[in-house]
Symmetry: C2
Subunit: 291 residues, 2 copies
Amino acid sequence: MHVADRLIAAVEDKTAPVCVGLDPVLGRMPDPICRAGGPLEQFRKFTFGVLDAVSPLVPAVKFQSACYERYGSGGVGVLNDAITYARELGLLIILDGKRADISQSAEHYAAAAFDAVAQDGHPDLITVNPYLGSDGVLPFIMERNDGRSVGAFVLVRTSNPSGDAIQAARLESGLTVAEHVASRVAEWGKQSIGQRGYSALGAVIGATKGIEGRSLRELMPEQMFLVPGYGAQGGSADDVRAMFKSDGTGAIVTASRSVTYPEQAPGEPWRDAVARAARSLIDSIRSVIAA
Amino acid sequence: MHVADRLIAAVEDKTAPVCVGLDPVLGRMPDPICRAGGPLEQFRKFTFGVLDAVSPLVPAVKFQSACYERYGSGGVGVLNDAITYARELGLLIILDGKRADISQSAEHYAAAAFDAVAQDGHPDLITVNPYLGSDGVLPFIMERNDGRSVGAFVLVRTSNPSGDAIQAARLESGLTVAEHVASRVAEWGKQSIGQRGYSALGAVIGATKGIEGRSLRELMPEQMFLVPGYGAQGGSADDVRAMFKSDGTGAIVTASRSVTYPEQAPGEPWRDAVARAARSLIDSIRSVIAA
C-alpha cells in the first residue's frame, strides 16, 4: 500500500491524528526505572516503555535519530531494535533524521534509512531538508526491494524561533522562503500520490507558525503535514486547526516530552502516566478538529 | 589552536589549498585491489589506500558520511577507524554529514560528530545545513572537552543544479536566498574568529556558481570556503579564482572521484595514480591562484 494511504489508514484506525516522539537524553530520563543501568540500557528501557504505553493509542511514533546516534553504533543498535519492535506493535514509523545531500549521496542516505540501517524494521517516512532542492528530497520517495512504499516529510516551516532568519525572508514574488519551498514540495510530490489523494512527500510545519499554516495548507493540498510544537513549544489550538483540511484529514500532530515525561500522580507508574498523557493529547486534538 | 588557524596552517604547510574527498561506493571501486573481499573490507582498502597516497601532498580530507552510514554500524566503524588513521597521518579532517536540527537535537548531532562517534579521531569540521537558522549551526562551533576547537562549513551555495530552485530565488532585498544565507553565516561566525582572521564557521560554495562566488566572497570576508565541483562537475578556473582573496587565502578546493578514481597508466599501481591525480589538482589550483 502507498505510504500516504498507510498513514491515513493508521490515523483512522486509532481515530487519532497524533504521533509520539522519542528523544531520549541521558541525565534527563523521566523515571527511576529508566535511570537504572548504563546509557544504552537506559535508552532501551525508555524507548520500549514508551512504545508499550502508546502503541494501543496512537498510529505513529517518531524517533529523533540524533539522540541515538550520539551513542555511536550502540545507540544506533538500540534505535534499530526499537524500530523493529515498533513495527511488530503495528505502529507507523517516522525517522527524524533531517537528512539531505545531493544526488548520489542522497541515495546513500535513503539506502541507509530504508535498507541497511534497519533491515528488519525500517521506517516508513524520514524527515528531510529542502535547501539542496529536489536532488536532496526525491531519492527518499521510493519502493523498497520488498515492494513497500516509503516517503519523506520535508522541513518547510520549523517550530524553532531561529528558523525565521531564513524561512520568513520574503521573496520578490511576495512569497516567503517557506512558502516558496512549499510550492516546490507540492510540485515534487506529484510523482507519487496515493489513492486517498495525498503524496508520499509530506511537510513538517511547526504549530508555532499558525498564521502561515493556512497559506501553507493552500499551497500544499496533497501534502500530509507533520506538526510539532503544539503545547510545550507554544502552538495553540487555532494554530493546529489551520493545518487540517475541513474533512479533518491532512495533518498529524507530534509531541515528545509532554507525553514521554508526564507528570506522575503519587504512586502512578510512569508508563500509565505516559498513556494518560497520550490520551489527553488525543482528546485535545480531537476537540480542535471538531471545533 | 583555533580550528580556522589549524586549517590555514595545514594549507600553508603543504602550499596546497586542496582537500581530497572519500566517497566509496560498492560496485564502483576504482581498482581490483579495492574490489577484493566483502563490502567493509573493500571500503577499508579504498579509504586507507587513498589516505596513504594523498597524506604527503594535501592538508585535508573529507569523508562523505552517507557512503559509510549506508553500511550500518560496520560502515560507521570503518569511518571511525579511517578518521583515527587520518589524524595519525597529520591530516585535517572534514566530515561531510550535512547535519542540521534545532537546539537540543543539533547539540546531539554535534556530540555525535565531535565526541561519541569518533572518540579517538573526531573530525575538525563538519558540513551543516542552514535552513533551520542559527539553532542548527551554532552548536557545531565548540571546544571539545580536551580543549580542541572544532567548527563547521555551512552549505550556502551547493554545486548541484537542483539547488537553484531554493538558493537562487531572489528576495525583496535584491539578494538571492544564498546571498541572504551568506549574510547570516557572516554574522553567526563572528562569535569565533581565529588569529588569522577567519571564523570557525566556514561556507560550502560550489565551483559551478562562479559568478555568484565574487558576491558571496564579499558577503563573507571571514569565512573559509570549501569548494566542491571543480573539474568533473563543470567548475572552471575562473569560477575557482573568485573564491580566493587576493592574498591567496580563503578557500580550499575539494575533489573526490577525479583524484580517487584516476586514469591509470598501463602497469601503474592505483595508489601511484591517486598521488599523481592529487599532484595534478594541486598544480592546477596553484596556477589558478597565481594567475
